[in-house]
């Protein structure tokens, strides 16, 4: 520093300051170079890098999308975006995109196709569908979907005669939570979850890694709560980003959350930390609950969970101290151990005791705007056959969506009530999204038809008979989106640019197929834009304003009991059911019970998976723009354990599961941030599809290691964190 100063001073003196600053110095150029990424216009639409549906503004310049920013008028984005939202260009301009319709020429899975024109591809699919309907009935066609554009295909399939539509986002993801909360409060939580994080004074997360899981609005509110001084309790075997912000981090032994929850309930009831008035007024089953948890002391839970009893007591006191503006976050991906709906029940019960359901800073009663249907669409003429999404004779009494893996299993002949003979797969990579991928591949071999509608050549597309390349969300219109939320709003998706290559919008593909199937009457409009505008006009919206802003807001409605929202509980008792008679009647535990988890064998670790902020599972791992900041997943392993195994941070390793399935090589992250008995990796890596030139071979695929599941008896969900792996040097 002194030398820099010295030379500065000597330099200036030597020259004379005046001389220095006049003749010999160059111009001081003021203006910064404008990188020129502002569009000549912007298009207001909503994002599909994940399924949260944030409003974005796409900047378009000379027919190209230059950048994507948050739409300040949209209630879910509030002008800001998560990292993925900026990455739409990486999807739109992905060189690996599906560019033309293709029909399979090799064996299924060989990934050999010939390019065809749309007419031929659609004729082929329609002919097959007619044939299948005639031979097996239309209900033997199942659809798997993830993404808003799937609505046109669901409509098509319903018109065709099947309601067998499954999404892995249910039984493999948020289903357990929906079932647990529905049983307790009468309503599922949906997406966006109807939680008022921003007003919470204390928040507890169990295995929910907000901040790494980047649902925009939720993380915005999470940060706002922290800014306002909310107390944070994070229960996670991993020192997650959220744990780094927490007052209490409870590094729980995986699989023992239920013990913690029962102990929390025990403390709340014992110490009178619960909302007596609220429970008295709105809940049933307190006495049974008291008896049920009488022996579930913190000391007992301490032995099960590996947590200190004092930690268990302190954390629930902090949470309960802030009630009713206290929230035990219900979680989202909850398909862990097979007793997940019951765990969600326990979480719902904690929230009930906090008095947070229907309260500010807790769980709110959502409100939504109505948009009339497009006039003249006929009703579906059929009564749908019950879905065969479970093994013959099996009953999952509380499933209220189809089970995607169950529809898959029904494709293996003779195992379900009737066989599924054809799949229409929209935007979901079933090879990675469903557990037991071997079973998925086996099921595919029995199909008469597999049609994949997608943007990128994911693994499942490689198994398709016909590939229909869809336009990305930036190139197409979709239906109006109506979201139950704390503010009333509707939003639209409109094309920012024309479809690249020979890709087509989903609505066009569905409509063309409908025409060929004699179902044209179900698609009476010319295009989706016309349909959307007609619906908006019918709903007395200012169509031009909606097109400009991408969104229309409704009047404010009360969403909290204290503001006048009615305290409604759609359970059989019309009350919060701490004790669930429904479960008792179904022969299931009416109060959640703790079952100790299986222990890993010697040298084995429980395999946990999760998210990274920049990616939406395997859907975005080929996105080169997003991969600029995260391109390969890592295996998190406790640093002490790594030392004992002689593995250094950064070493390439493979994991081998209990059934001998070995992963791709991935980098070891030897870290203090995880317990000794589990390992963690980000989901969605280790792609093998030939066409994913960027993602192929990067990192390891956790789904391939999920060769075992534990099935939830309440709704058939698949607990997937029940696999154990050993680690070896790659």
């Amino acid at each position: 520093m002194q030398r820099r100063e010295f030379i500065k001073i000597t330099g200036m003196t030597a020259l004379g300051v005046a001389a220095a600053s006049s003749a010999v110095l160059p111009k001081d150029s003021q203006a910064a170079v404008d990188p020129g990424t502002d569009g000549d216009h912007t298009v207001a639409t909503f994002c599909e890098l994940c399924f949260w549906k944030c409003g974005v503004l796409a900047h378009v310049k000379d027919g190209k999308v230059t950048k994507i920013v948050g739409n300040p008028d949209h209630p879910l984005s509030r002008g800001a975006l998560c990292p993925r939202g900026t990455g739409g260009t990486g999807l739109l301009y992905d060189p690996d995109r599906l560019k033309k319709p293709m029909i399979r020429v090799g064996e299924r899975g060989q990934q050999k196709f010939k390019e065809v024109e749309w007419g031929e591809a659609l004729d082929y699919v329609a002919a097959k569908l007619k044939d299948i309907a005639a031979k097996h009935g239309p209900e033997s066609v199942a659809m798997f979907a993830h993404g808003f554009g799937g609505s046109f295909f669901k409509h098509l399939l319903n018109a065709y005669g099947s309601d067998n539509v499954g999404a892995p986002s249910y039984a493999q993801c948020r289903g357990a939570r929906e079932v647990g909360f529905q049983l307790t409060f009468g309503t599922a939580l949906g997406s966006p979850e109807v939680i008022d994080l921003e007003n919470s004074r204390a928040i507890a997360l169990i295995g929910s890694h907000l901040g790494e899981n980047m649902h925009n609005t939720q993380v915005q509110e999470f940060a706002k709560a922290i800014e306002r001084g909310a107390q944070l309790i994070v229960v996670d075997p991993r020192f997650s980003t959220a744990a780094g912000k927490a007052r209490h981090w409870l590094p729980i032994k995986p699989g023992t959350d239920m013990a913690l929850l029962l102990a929390w309930i025990h403390v709340m009831l014992n110490e009178g930390l619960y909302d007596r008035d609220y429970i008295e007024k709105y809940a049933v089953g307190l006495e049974q609950l008291k008896a049920h948890v009488a022996d579930k002391t913190p000391e007992w839970a301490s032995l099960e969970t590996g947590l200190e009893a004092s930690q268990i007591v302190d954390s629930i006191r902090v949470l309960a101290g802030a009630r009713p503006a206290a929230l035990l976050h219900p979680g989202r991906h909850t398909a862990w151990y097979g007793d997940d709906a019951q765990r969600a029940r326990a979480m719902a019960i904690v929230n009930a005791l906090l008095g947070s359901y229907g309260r500010r800073g807790g769980i709110y009663y959502p409100t939504k705007l109505g948009v009339p249907k497009y006039a003249g669409i006929p009703d579906y003429p059929h009564k749908f056959k019950p879905t065969p999404d479970k093994p013959k004779g099996k009953v999952y009494p509380f499933a209220d969506e189809s089970l995607a893996h169950g529809l898959r299993d029904a494709s293996i002949p003779g195992t379900a009530d009737y066989d599924i003979k054809a799949w229409l797969v929209y935007g979901t990579n079933l090879i990675q999204a469903l557990p037991e991928p071997k079973k998925t591949i086996e099921a595919i071999q029995h199909l008469d038809l597999l049609v994949a509608v997608d943007v990128l050549p994911a693994e499942i597309v490689g198994y398709a008979d016909v590939i229909l390349p869809e336009a990305t969300y930036l190139e197409r219109w979709d239906d109006v989106v109506v979201t139950p939320y704390k503010e009333q709003y509707i939003a639209i998706r409109q094309a920012a640019v024309k479809p690249l290559y020979d890709s087509k919008p989903g609505w066009w593909i569905a409509k063309e197929l409908a025409n060929r199937l004699g179902l044209g009457a179900y698609f009476p409009w010319n295009d989706a834009a016309e349909m959307v505008k007609a619906r908006l006009a019918a709903g007395k919206f200012d169509v031009d304003a909606v097109l400009k802003q991408g969104v229309a807001l409704g009047a404010r409605k009360p969403v909290f009991i204290e503001d006048g929202a009615p305290a409604v509980f759609a359970t059989p008792s019309k009350k919060i059911e701490l004790f669930s008679q429904q479960l008792a009647d179904a022969g299931l535990d009416p109060l959640p019970k703790y079952t100790p988890p299986d222990e890993p064998g010697a040298g084995q670790f429980r395999l946990l998976m999760g998210r990274t902020p920049t990616h939406t599972f395997g859907r975005t791992t080929n996105n080169r723009f997003l991969s600029e900041v995260y391109s390969d997943n890592e295996l998190w392993l406790n640093a002490q354990v790594a030392r004992e195994l002689g593995l250094e941070n950064g070493t390439q390793v493979r994991v081998v599961n209990q059934d001998g399935v070995k992963s791709n090589a991935l980098r070891l992250k030897a870290t203090q941030r995880i317990r000794h008995d589990c390992v963690f990796m980000v989901h969605g890596y280790g792609h093998s599809a030939a066409g994913l030139n960027f993602a192929k071979g990067r990192g390891a695929d956790d789904a391939a290691l999920v060769t075992r599941i534990k099935v939830d008896p309440l709704f058939g969900g698949t607990g997937m964190s029940v696999n154990f792996v050993a680690i070896e040097r790659a």
Binding site: M1, R4, K8, L25, P26, D28, S29, Q30, A31, A32, V33, D34, P35, T37, T66, K67, I68, G70, A80, L81, C82, P83, T86, G87, T89, L210, G211, M214, N216, V219, Q220, F222, A223, K224, I226, E227, F239, T241, A242, A243, G244, K245, W249, P251, P613, T614, R624, F625, L626, E628, V629, Y630, N638, A639, Q640, T671, Q672, R673, I674, R675
Partner: protein, 181 residues
């Protein structure tokens, strides 16, 4: 009164989740070439399991008041403009890299076109009265940008009311990137 501006960025490490939206928004806004970034996320972990502490920071050029890069530059390519923003004039840059070596924060890189490049505090946006791309995108409101010499500004008030630090004050560079802790 014609008060001199001092643009600063204030990063609230308590709120930052390290999502990298700032990094990607910057790349999109500034058309930064593949393999380069003008801002980035650093995650520090202290302690031993289970007694851990974390700090996440969104980092970038500190637009130092006593900028070593401006001093080191032989051609005047690196220079200061209104508000203390440090810019690189591409036309004057020889790519000698003295500025890169002079920067304690390693905020600069050689653009594939040959000139040295870095964060501009989105001076082209600031000139239009907008905030920076990273601040605009940030979902957690971790980032704040403004004139620290204006006592009414958000940044001045945050610095007046919250505990904060700069990185490596010992360099004497007087950095203008503040971290609330």
């Amino acid at each position: 009164m014609n008060r001199e501006k001092r643009y600063v960025m204030v990063v609230d490490t308590r709120l930052c989740v390290g999502c990298k939206a700032c990094v990607l928004a910057c790349k999109a806004e500034n058309n930064t070439p593949d393999g380069f970034c003008r801002d980035w996320i650093v995650e520090d972990i202290w302690g031993l399991f289970p007694n851990l502490r974390a700090e996440i920071r969104s980092e970038r050029c500190n637009h130092c008041s006593n900028a070593p890069c401006v001093d080191a530059c032989p051609t005047g390519a690196s220079h200061k403009v209104d508000g203390g923003i440090v810019l690189v004039d591409h036309d004057l840059c020889t790519g000698c890299k003295a500025c890169i070596a002079s920067c304690p924060y390693d905020a600069r890189y050689v653009h594939p076109d040959g000139y040295v490049d870095k964060c501009t505090f989105c001076a082209h946006r600031v000139a239009d009265g907008k905030t920076t791309a990273c601040v605009a995108i940030c979902p957690t409101k971790t980032l704040h940008f403004g004139d620290a010499n204006d006592p009414q500004s958000e940044v001045a008030q945050l610095l007046a009311s919250r505990r904060h630090k700069v990185l490596h004050p010992e360099t004497g560079c007087e950095p203008n990137l503040y971290f609330l802790t």
